[in-house]
Symmetry: C2
Subunit: 111 residues, 2 copies
């Protein structure tokens, strides 16, 4: 279960155009990095891109994207895994699942 603080942090993270777009990118653009094209289903990282690849998709500096990714990570909306000198980024489906449950519960209680 998500605490109130965790929920507010999640919504704060998604309540910014740039971060929302970054999160969407992480959700929808898998297997961009070379190393990741070889990843198999049984690998821990099933869907991942990396920081520089994401940054290249946006008209913002790399440090700015890096900072936004940190916020998304702190909100547990994404996972970041270091391998060699790259950092792979993937959505945190567990958190999305929790969010879906929250809103579904609300509907059940307020129907």
């Amino acid at each position: 279960m998500l605490t109130i603080e965790e929920k507010v942090k999640i919504f704060k993270a998604l309540g910014n155009d740039t971060r929302f777009a970054i999160f969407k990118n992480v959700l929808t653009v898998p297997y961009i990095c070379n190393i990741n094209q070889n990843v198999k289903t049984d690998n821990i990282i099933k869907q991942a891109t990396c920081v520089g690849t994401i940054a290249a998709e946006f008209n913002y500096s790399l440090p700015t994207i890096s900072r936004h990714l940190k916020d998304l990570k702190d909100a547990k909306l994404i996972k970041m895994t270091k391998s060699a000198n790259k950092i792979y980024v993937e959505p945190n489906l567990e958190t999305i699942h929790q969010l879906a449950k929250c809103f579904c519960n609300l509907l059940d209680k307020n129907s």
Copy 2:
């Protein structure tokens, strides 16, 4: 369907401790206002409180609460209905339903 702009506005609205608490209050505390205690199921306003009543629950000034309610209304998270000189507040279940769908769809696509 919610546009990206609408979604970001919703998350921005919920991404603040005070507004989140106000929204929670609107969701969980029905039939507070006198006029509303007599409201029947077939009435348009099934669950409603009013601005002053909400404000009394928080350690913030009335104008501050009013401003936050405007943000929640602009994000379509709540509905505000004027009757006499009071404004009744109720959750916008349609938006909550849309949000639940968004996150459920995400899970389906990324499972």
